[in-house]
């Protein structure tokens, strides 16, 4: 019996790839910022130092989402 095509999708799987890649960093950045907000609420005098560390954390976590954006361009 011939195989039956039940459904056909068209489009670019790179878009789905990026969507999946953005889940982790989205949650990650939310965690970093929420912890910073909690810590600033506990000790407001450290706000400057904590803010700098927050930007560092965001940069590292977001790197993965951006590499996810770049992979379709690398792999054709």
């Amino acid at each position: 019996m011939d195989a039956v095509t039940l459904a056909e999708l068209s489009g670019n799987i790179a878009v789905v790839g990026y969507g999946l890649a953005a889940i982790g960093p989205g949650i990650g950045v939310g965690l970093v910022v929420s912890k910073t907000i909690e810590s600033i609420a506990r000790q407001p005098e450290l706000a400057g130092r904590l803010q700098v560390t927050m930007w560092l954390g965001i940069a590292f976590t977001e790197a993965l989402a951006l590499i996810g954006l770049a992979t379709p361009f690398i792999f054709g």
Partner: protein, 269 residues
Amino acid sequence: MSLFLAEGGEFAPPTIYEFYPEVFLFEGTPFAINRIMMIRLIVMTLLIILFLLWTRKFNQAVKTGNVVPGRFQLLGEMALNFVRKSIAHDQLGEKDGERFLPLLTTIFFMVLGMNITGIIPFANIAGTSVIGIPLVLAAAAYVTFIYAGVKRHGLKFFKNSLFPSGVPVYFYALVTPIEFLSTFILRPVTLALRLLMNMIAGHLLLVLCFSATHFFFFQADGLFKAFGAGTFIFGFAFTLFEILVSVLQAYVFTLLTTVYIQLALADEH
């Protein structure tokens, strides 16, 4: 019913070829100049002129002993002190901060200047949205933090970063490749890619918003024209967001370079 039918031409969303505009000077040679290269050359010239004017103002103030700065001088002092105090001195301390300050100031202002052209009306594309500038700046940061580590610790720098102390010997087979990958490969790659992809994504979204507005207002029929107002407002809001992203990416690049230098200079306990 024809109010809801969209007629007119097809909508062509932006593609990656946005970043390869046509060459208009010196075609075929390695010095081919297209719109993006022209923007980079103009921004470079403007930055050089800006810093020449600032240093002239600072020298004048030192010579005349004038302690009250004028507006232009104040702007220069604020900008340069931002990198000096809150990035270099904060992370590296006074002595090392001064050592690496020229590189950090160059990185900050170059990234900021090239990023901000993404929202300037006749340029409309960031100089950092093609791989050249992010790659060169990431390579400069890479060479600098390795130089800083080797200068401070000699060749033990490589041993200390690849074989961290306090790890049982049999774990080194697992830890060392991961450390090598994360310190010597991922750091420069993510520095360059973070900047590049932020600018590419921002530019593509802005082009999408404004070309959609153009399409809805001029080529769609009936009630679809109303969508044009929505995409225009979104484009405006996103332009403001893009300004924030431009400044933030400059800050993050400089801050990360400083942190890598600090980690390279840190003594093992």
